[in-house]
Symmetry: C2
Subunit: 157 residues, 2 copies
């Protein structure tokens, strides 16, 4: 139901939420921790940068970091950036009588999408990272030693 792109974007964001504040995380490190193929990751990261969720910096020592605290980023922000939930606002069949009054079938589908949107808007990335009694996302990897940072950065976005 959720696309691979959504899954990868959430993993990439979780990786960066686990990374030390104000330090860029190199793309290869994100790929390693989040287990995302490099070519797929670069597309996902571009969407997240374009949506204003990430800051990117080219060059040695560059990489990606969250643009705002994880407590101010919702699951919905991430989903919306890479594979938006398309609510059903008008009749998919363009039937005259349904334009401003969806039939019960399409209303039911849209209600389910509305509930999903609400649940995702209420869930912040930081809540996903820290819940007592539950393992941290990607914890097998984020606690392993990252590749050493190198100086010399060029802004990406």
């Amino acid at each position: 139901m959720f696309s691979q792109t959504v899954e990868y974007a959430l993993r990439a964001m979780a990786t960066l939420a686990s990374h030390p504040d104000n330090q860029f995380c190199p793309a290869p490190r994100i790929a390693e921790v989040a287990q995302i193929p490099a070519s797929y990751l670069s597309k996902v990261l571009k969407h997240l940068v374009d949506a204003g969720l990430l800051r990117g910096q080219r060059g040695p020592g560059g990489g990606f970091m969250l643009r705002r605290p994880a407590s101010e980023i919702s699951i919905w922000d991430v989903v919306e950036a890479v594979d938006p939930i398309r609510r059903i606002k008008t009749c998919p069949l363009d039937l005259g009588a349904h334009k401003t009054n969806l039939c019960p079938l399409h209303r039911k589908l849209d209600n389910v999408l509305a509930d999903m949107e609400k649940a995702f808007k209420e869930a912040t990335l930081s809540e996903m990272m820290n819940q007592p009694g539950y393992p941290q996302p990607l914890c097998d990897f984020v606690n392993s030693t990252p590749a050493p940072a190198v100086e010399g950065r060029t802004p990406l976005a």
Copy 2:
């Protein structure tokens, strides 16, 4: 979020729920009413027959009909037949610590899927067809004159 296949399957089922009881509805009529390309429709109908939701009969005068009353078919039955909701039961990254205890991120995603499953299980096809104050699904078409039936039938399923 919902696939084109789900949308088409629900439209096909709504068409058959509007068709007179115990009469086969020819596939071209379903395609016309539900606005589904013929080749796509045949694949969708096969899934619905295989799932035991439809009875099909070949030959002139044949077609498709619901196998049980619309009041006993849920939206979930239809979705499950053509594009099942895949709940998240185990860690998509196969992380050791998460196997029996999903991280909050994947738990949140699965909770949203569980809510969707519940909403679809509680909604019957007949409820989608008859709600005061709302237009009937496909009503611009189901009330138009169908193609005349022809005698001579061969069981399909």
